[in-house]
């Protein structure tokens, strides 16, 4: 199983480097992989049909509890078959569609990467492994949407798609982190056991919201749907595979997978129903106004995804069953329609619905496939689509609340979808063949066969739903709804309300198609509507957000060093003040206060006065002279308090510093007071508060008893062990010699830096390398 999942990645890492080998005539060979995988997953059906669940475990990051735990149950098998099955067809299609493309290898690489990721995702039982694969699907989607990287629109769409799905991804990660935290396990299967705990947990809503954001972003639910039409910039195989059949269903998969864990809670069900219902209606409505084949398909896909979410929201056994069936239905017909679009685009060079007609004359098999897809789409018997639609109506009608409105929504959506289906599956082939398309001919069989196969499959499944009922549909239902009653898929239920609704749908749809032709008026109307669309709002928001980001960044990063210093010191001061006033009582230890001699007093007075002088003097040279005095006073303080080495060093360094300053001062401009008095008062206040805090802190620490153990050790052993009498020097060269050796290194580097800083002056045309 690990091999099955990884094979996609392995292929992905080989293909781009295979050079000409796989780029030319042999490119269809890559189809072997999905084909083989499809067969492999087919062989698993029998065991799954017996309600067996197969678990494959491979260690990966056991210390985090993250492993490749692949679970094959009905739901994952359903998706796996879809991924590999449609994958096979898409791979085959691609080999002809992209023939001669310089980057075909790269393309196959991304495609295989995607397939592997998708498989991994649906098979993972470990939430984090699932997440890993989830993100990989987003990334491979990013690369595929941006495949035509020289087009600005492509790049933008790829970015938008990744931004939305990526954002969703992080929410998914958050949701999973929370889930793992609450349940203490990373296995979804095991989480089902803690479902009750979860539902009662105060963070349930948070988990749910995070999960929803993730699922909605991936499955293009309103208001996160708008990336999907943009994603149509990708080559058609990508649109087929990722953006209609598989990847966009990842969100559906996620919701389905977590239904037994988190579902069956009013908040869960209602949210899904509302969002799904709105999305399906909204997108279906939009689809009929589009001119571009792919765009129409994109919106109808969104609508179908809405339908799936809607069904998940209803959450009843019937609804879930309907959902499973509809997934298959949709995968079959939508993939087919996309491939057909691809063929049309490939052969005629246009996707404009208004320019296309009469193509049946030049590409008969394709038009058959189109027709088949359309009737499945429209739920016309005897296709599998009809089965699916029946089930949908059955479930809406049985809804506990608002059955009527829900059913109405479903019916209206289906009518609109039918409209879209005709537009894409039938319209291009009917009517008169324009002059310009006379030269158009039937493409390579590798292109027309896949849609045809899909269409036929829809037909066969409609006629014989039993083929997948026991092996796939029921197990899938059971993995979502373990208590689901047995149910038989049938094409014919007899005359009943549901059949009536189907009829209404078909008739209504046809009527709409023939009566309503969107014109210019509608276009402007739609354009107005765009103003309130989530895409527009998101764009507006992102623009505003960027302004906010710029303002925020400027606020802190304004380039003025003194403002930086001010902010840092203010921050420190506030923290220090808060801590000092809340947690430290103010004491001065009188026992530690020593007397002063007059000289000491004078030196300290001079020190203080000179510091103030240095701050206020308008003359730079005087300030430097003052610095000399300050250093000298400090030197004297060291003398008074028994630090001869310090005094010496201080004086020597002070002298050197003064020399340095004096040498550097040449040619510096005038030293003016630039700041206004207000600013100076502000700075002065902050500095004073900070200084006062340091003074208080010093006195406080002085009050604390000091442990002199270390000192004692040094003074006792300086002579006896280290053979020196100047304890300070012994510390410097022996006890703490490491400090000194590092300190001279600092000096060395500083000198090197000074040398380089002044001597090395590069000019721009310094060409040498």
């Amino acid at each position: 199983m690990l091999l099955a999942v990884m094979s996609g990645f392995i292929l992905a890492s080989i293909v781009p480097f295979s050079g000409k080998l796989l780029r030319g005539r042999w490119s269809f060979m890559t189809t072997a992989l999905p084909g083989a995988l499809f067969v492999y997953f087919l062989t698993l059906i029998p065991s799954i049909a017996n309600n067996q669940v197969r678990l494959f475990s491979y260690q990966w990051v056991p210390s985090m509890g993250i492993n490749f735990d692949f679970l094959v149950d009905g739901l994952s098998l359903l998706f796996a078959l879809m991924i590999t099955g449609i994958g096979t067809l898409v791979f085959l299609f691609t080999s002809a569609y992209m023939k001669g493309d310089a980057y075909l290898g790269r393309f196959y690489g991304y495609l295989s990467l995607f397939m592997g990721a998708m498989l991994g995702m649906v098979l993972s039982d470990n939430i984090f492994t699932l997440f890993v694969f989830w993100e990989l699907t987003s990334i491979s989607s990013f690369f595929l949407i941006g495949f035509n990287n020289e087009s600005k629109a492509s790049r933008k769409s790829a970015l938008v798609a990744l931004a939305i799905t990526g954002l969703g991804g992080f929410f998914l990660l958050a949701a999973f982190a929370l889930l793992g935290n609450i349940t203490g396990t990373y296995s979804i299967r095991e989480m089902i056991g803690s479902a009750d705990i979860l539902k009662a947990h105060p963070s349930y809503l948070l988990v749910m919201v995070c999960l929803f954001i993730a699922a909605f972003s991936k499955s293009a639910q309103y208001p996160l749907h708008f990336w999907l039409p943009g994603a149509m910039k990708a080559p058609t195989p990508v649109s087929t595979y990722l953006h209609s059949a598989t990847m966009v269903k990842a969100g559906i998969y996620l919701l389905a997978r977590f239904t037994p864990v988190l579902g069956n809670v009013p908040a869960w069900n209602h949210t899904l129903t509302i969002v799904g219902g709105f999305t399906m209606l909204y997108a279906a409505f939009h689809s009929i106004f589009k001119k571009d084949l792919k765009e129409i398909l994109a919106y109808s896909t969104i609508s179908a995804l809405g339908m799936l979410v809607f069904l998940l929201g209803l959450g009843t056994s019937e609804a879930l069953l309907a959902m499973v069936v509809y997934i298959v239905v949709h995968a079959l017909y939508k993939a087919s329609l996309f491939l057909i679009t691809g063929i049309i685009d490939h052969e005629t060079g246009t996707r404009d619905i208004n320019k296309l007609s009469g193509l049946r004359k030049v590409m008969m098999p394709v038009s058959i496939a189109g027709l088949l897809a359309m009737i499945s789409n429209s739920g016309i018997p005897p296709t599998f689509g009809f089965v699916g639609k029946d089930l949908i109506y059955a479930s809406t009608l049985e809804s506990e609340i608002l059955a009527l409105s829900l059913t109405t929504i479903a019916v209206v959506t289906n009518m609109l979808l039918l409209y879209a289906g005709i537009l894409t599956g039938v319209k291009p082939f009917t009517g008169v063949l324009p002059e310009s398309f006379k030269e158009v001919h039937l493409p390579d069989w590798r292109m027309w066969l896949p849609p045809l196969v899909l269409g036929i499959a829809g037909l066969i499944l409609g006629l014989f739903p039993v083929f997948i009922e026991g092996g796939i549909v029921m197990p899938a239902l059971h993995s979502m709804y373990p208590m689901a009653p047995p149910f038989h898929l049938m094409l014919w239920h007899g005359f009943n309300l549901i059949l009536g609704l189907s009829a209404v749908t078909i008739l209504g749809g046809l009527l709409l198609y023939f009566l309503f032709k969107p014109g210019l008026r509608h276009q402007t109307w739609m354009a107005k509507l765009y103003g309130s669309s989530p895409e527009h709002i998101a764009l507006l928001f992102s623009r505003k957000f960027r302004v906010f980001a710029a303002v925020w960044t400027r606020l802190f990063q304004n380039g003025y060093l003194r403002i930086y210093v001010l902010m840092i010191i203010s921050f420190l001061t506030v923290l220090l003040a808060y801590k000092s006033f809340t947690q430290v009582a103010f004491y001065i230890n009188p026992a530690k206060i020593s007397p002063l001699t007059s000289t000491e007093l004078v030196v300290m007075f001079i020190l203080i006065a000179t510091v103030l002088y240095a701050v206020y003097t308008p003359s730079r040279l005087a300030a430097i002279a003052a610095m000399g005095v300050i250093g000298y006073c400090i030197c004297l303080i060291y003398v008074f308090y028994s630090a001869p080495d310090l005094a010496m060093t201080q004086f020597a360094i002070d002298t050197l510093t003064v020399i340095l300053f004096v040498l550097v001062l040449y040619r510096l401009p005038k030293y003016i007071n630039y700041s206004s008095w207000l600013i100076r008062v502000r700075d002065g206040l902050i500095s004073l508060i900070f200084g006062t805090l340091i003074s208080i802190l010093a006195l406080e620490v002085l009050y604390e008893p000091t442990n002199k153990e270390t000192t004692r050790f040094f003074t006792d052993n300086a002579y006896t062990l280290a053979k020196g009498k100047n304890v300070v020097n012994v510390i410097l060269v022996d006890f703490r010699g490491m400090d000194t050796i590092v300190e001279i290194t600092v000096l060395t580097i500083a000198a090197m830096g000074v040398f380089a800083l002044l001597k090395l002056q590069l000019n721009k045309y310094d060409q040498e390398l």
Binding site: P644, L656, D734, T740, I744, A750
Partner: protein, 136 residues
């Protein structure tokens, strides 16, 4: 500065200061002073010379670029630090010669270390000051 009096005094002060700097280096272990202060005093001696006679002449007197003093000093210090490794002791363990040396007293690797400090500080101070005065 072309100052006769200053120059003449400097001629006297230069050896005096150098002598004094070595004195401070050698006695550091027993009394105030150290390689560090010694190095600075030595540097100040040369800086004084440079003030009096100009940088070129001081350069001539030194015969080497002060930059070169730093690696030598560092190498000396590091050498004294890693010496104990060969005796299986931790780095920077001070090793002592058994016999005291006249004038200086006991000689240990600490003195080697301090001499390294002296050279580095001398090199550093001179490099900085010379570089600056050259670019003025």
């Amino acid at each position: 500065m072309k100052l006769l009096i200053f120059r003449t005094t400097t001629i006297f002060l230069l050896p005096l200061l150098l002598l004094f700097s070595i004195f401070l280096l050698l006695r550091g272990h027993y009394l105030p002073g150290s390689g560090f202060v010694g190095g600075i005093i030595a540097a100040i001696a040369f800086i004084l010379h440079a003030f009096a006679f100009g940088l070129k002449n001081t350069r001539k007197l030194l015969r080497m670029h002060p930059l070169a003093l730093m690696p030598v000093g560092l190498a000396l210090a590091v050498f004294s630090a890693i010496l104990p490794i060969f005796q299986g002791l931790p780095v920077l363990t001070v090793l002592w010669l058994d016999e005291p040396f006249p004038v200086v007293g006991l000689i240990g690797s600490a003195l080697l270390f301090d001499s390294g400090v002296y050279l580095v500080v001398l090199g550093v101070a001179l490099t900085i000051i010379f570089t600056i005065s050259e670019t003025v």
